[in-house]
Symmetry: D2
Subunit: 321 residues, 4 copies
């Protein structure tokens, strides 16, 4: 039976690939896409989401809700230096596309309440929407089935700073609040997990390019700028933490190892804003999340490659592919 799913996203690069999983995988019953401030400009992210829906041949099928346009307390910090426009310059006519009237946070609250204990959420951007939903509706955390969170590092290195991964850095208050809210959480940490298991190196990228399907071409264009940035910081490949998160929400069999941790997020340090403290059980703290420690990297690559091999055609032309 398909998994009722919401993807909460700051749509750029790997967020698009994660959306493809939610849109194309028969295991997914994607109820909504909710947008949160993060990678690139908010309007840009919305356009990227519509573009991705179209690339998957599903434009118009899945509602896109605009959520919070900035973090709980702080001004928005983006990562346009990493992502550019977030879709490698692809464009389409989206003048007729608009987000739903319903706010993203209200959509999250409503969808969770409609299926208490069943809804999975893949939260692959800053956690502002999720924290807001938990604040608004005290039942939200328990109504959600499982919250998959891409964020933090498991006692490893950050990316935007040595201490912090981008999603938690952008809205540390939201991240802290989410881990205190009582969700059933599965965390996909940036490092070591995704750097060791979810980087697509030259071979995989070539294999994808050679598929030469519309989706493969979409992938190659969209992930191009990340690849360039990654290489500049010593990572030889494209990074796929968001799509791994979506994949795990749909295919728990990809998980090879995980542990119960107490996860908390620093909101007040001078050099540690957004640092995730993941305590592995020796500090006397109550576990509040399962942290993914290992996945079947080959199966994950095969999974994504398989999706990209599908002969899906966009409903309207995309320029730049």
């Amino acid at each position: 039976m398909p998994v009722p799913l919401v993807i909460d996203t700051d749509t750029a690069q790997d967020d698009c690939i994660a959306l493809l999983a939610g849109l194309l995988d028969p295991r997914a019953d994607l109820r909504a896409v909710t947008m949160v401030a993060g990678n690139v400009g908010f309007r840009r992210q919305l356009r990227n989401a519509f573009l991705t829906l179209n690339a998957a041949g599903r434009l118009g099928d899945v509602p896109v809700h605009a959520g919070c346009r900035r973090p709980l307390m702080r001004p928005w910090t983006g990562a346009e230096n990493v992502h550019g426009d977030g879709v490698g310059g692809l464009t389409m006519d989206d003048t007729d596309q608009a987000a739903e009237d319903e706010h993203g946070v209200d959509a999250l609250v409503r969808l969770a309440a409609e299926h208490p204990g069943e809804l999975s959420i893949a939260a692959i951007g800053p956690l502002t929407n999720i924290a807001s939903a938990a604040l608004k509706d005290p039942a939200f955390a328990s109504n959600v089935g499982t919250l998959y969170v891409m964020g933090g590092s498991n006692n490893g290195r950050g990316n935007i700073t040595p201490a912090a991964e981008f999603n938690f850095y952008v809205d540390p208050e939201a991240a802290k609040a989410v881990f205190a809210a009582g969700f059933e959480i599965v965390v996909v940490p940036w490092h070591p997990l995704t750097l060791e298991r979810a980087v697509f190196g030259p071979d995989t990228l070539t294999a994808i390019e050679e598929l030469d399907t519309p989706l493969a071409r979409f992938f190659t264009r969209v992930c191009g700028p990340t690849l360039e940035f990654d290489r500049s910081v010593g990572i030889d490949g494209t990074t796929h933490p968001d799509s791994l998160t979506a994949a795990l929400a749909l295919h728990p069999e990809l998980l090879r190892a995980g542990g119960r941790y107490n996860v908390d997020v620093e909101t007040s340090g001078e050099i540690t804003r957004g640092y995730a403290a993941m305590s592995w059980g020796v500090h006397g703290l109550e576990p509040n999340a399962t942290v993914v420690e290992d996945v079947d990297a080959q199966a994950f690559r095969d999974y994504l490659t398989g999706l990209l091999a599908r002969p899906v055609e966009p409903r309207r032309p995309i320029a730049g592919v």
Copy 2:
């Protein structure tokens, strides 16, 4: 012309008196009461609000909306040691009373959008609802006419800690976000302003008691516990920061002096959580609020006493008066 007003409150003691102003003053067009986590338990606060509506003879006339039940990021901190139940033991049958279906934050957003630039808000509790509304609707801050905030101290002493006044202490992240959101703000600081201008000493309290109206008896009972607490900390009288805030929203003529300040709130200190930095113009910071520096204390006392003298009768019996 009456002022369209929302009172955002953590209803206990002086919040009740502020509500009376909003309910009885002909200058007030009280559109809604929105409830925020603060002084005492949330359900208790709702009951206190209904009790106050009834005491003012207006039970059923003004919608009461439940807003955020905890701060943006932190667990709720109350002040039940100061306030007890918040109404001095008064009770009534309120089994038929319930908050509106619409969430307090949504009510705030809607009401401000319905009267762009006209709505006054008296925010006399922690700023969680206001911050959430500004987060949800980017137009909220400009839709609100004037936001009157009871909170912080103007380079003076706090109450819950040396550094911090209660409302900002409870949700410093919300307070910080509100001062950054672009509102037209008038701040009523705890100290020195309200300690010097809005404490009702023995003479005033006796005068109120001698009115012997239902409202005067309500006042005496409701404010009794505060009086006891205040005396234990060296303040000889009842404190009325919230009702002063409501009064200022309705009667700008009470204001004798105010200045443009840059106000910011500490969220990360070790001993300064919730401290409000009010910069008086010499630190090169852009003003974002008007801080009330002096009011006509006698006129304020006369104003409140005048309201309490009214021969209003509760619609249903209140036990304990």
Copy 3:
């Protein structure tokens, strides 16, 4: 009997006047001047101290020790925008003057150990030297008789920021450590005390000018730049927190009111670095200092004016008077 005294100073403007008190008052037995990083460049401060010794006719009589050239943990922050060179452009030939070989911290430790319980210290700069001495010698805090500290505000406004007074701002870690170290401390806070009781307005300044003694001319030149700065921030006169501190160490009769407080200093806030939390007794914290709340302002002015009236001649010429 004269008070054995050390003045720990970041010598500029009012520090010079405080030194005059220590040098000229017969109640003072000034054992040493110790220099700490603060107002202006360290070498500049040393030169200002020698200049002041000379102005008092005591060059060569009192050892000057160089202490810490930066705060415990942070880079040095000065206030040259306020103080200029700290002596209004006065100069003398000081090529033969040098600080003692013994480090200021060692001198403090030694002098306190030589007179257990008797030595008074007037700490009128950042508390780096005092904190270092307490760290080096566990007996230092109890060996010192009374530590007079100019710093912080008593639930009032700061100067360098809304929250913080300069001395505590520059080295908050030292200030925090000092209040935890077990000293017998008397605090002279910037506000409201010294702004209300130790500002010399136009009348006093004119009276001093009219004395036309070498010391009065020294005063007028040295305090000139502060006066200009003070007026630019709305204070009509010269500020004398440091000389008030020295005066109180020598003349306890100037004290009119003081209270026992718990004083702690913020080291980690975002906007509250160096804020002094002075708890007046209602927060359940153990008192660790006496905070001066009122002084005899007229007697203080008379005291300083009296010192400046003395017909002391510098031992060597001072250019610029």
Copy 4:
């Protein structure tokens, strides 16, 4: 030519083994042992140092200086739960042993000044003494040849908290100051380095036991309690970060890989006190330390085992071996 060396230590368990290296290795010219507050009570640490000197047959040969008895700003935090008395219950008559009159910080300053650019320091406790020396003498940092620091983790896990390694946690202000002071620093991080390369597992421990020399018996007793604690937190062996640090100071050939990093230490976070941010070069920060990334683990084990095999006899009896 032997390396002029000071070991700055909070002597317990592996600190003792590090001292053995400094005392027995012919490459070491151990000029002094300086004691800093850390693992166990200060007096206890001094006794442990004398015991270790005796175990090495060198009691009386090397001066032991007492340094700072608490961190720069904070109260002392120990780790007696991990270390017990720090020497596994061994005792000797040390009533005639006392620390030098000269304070540890002064000894550090003097020794560095005596051999500008030549002295190596192995700092294997909190950095209070080192920070104090750099504060006292502006030339200290450049007078020191190389400062070997055991502390922090290289984007890995802490020990006392998820975020922090013990030495930096105990005195984060000192650690931060040291990395800003301009030393030539080599960092030996707790994780991953020492957990992966400097844990002695059952085989090594058995091999040492079977040496059955006085020093081997000393090792087995002294490291016993750590072993027990380590096993309780999932580490199957004894941990040797301190002795690895001393070994690297004497045998650079043990180093297999290291990188230039910018290292900074968190002093103000809520859950990140003492976290070391080690930036590996992609964040635009200037390198200020070499972080050891890999060592020859086998050679290190052989090195220590070789030292323990020596037929050294204590000068006076040690009870408990």
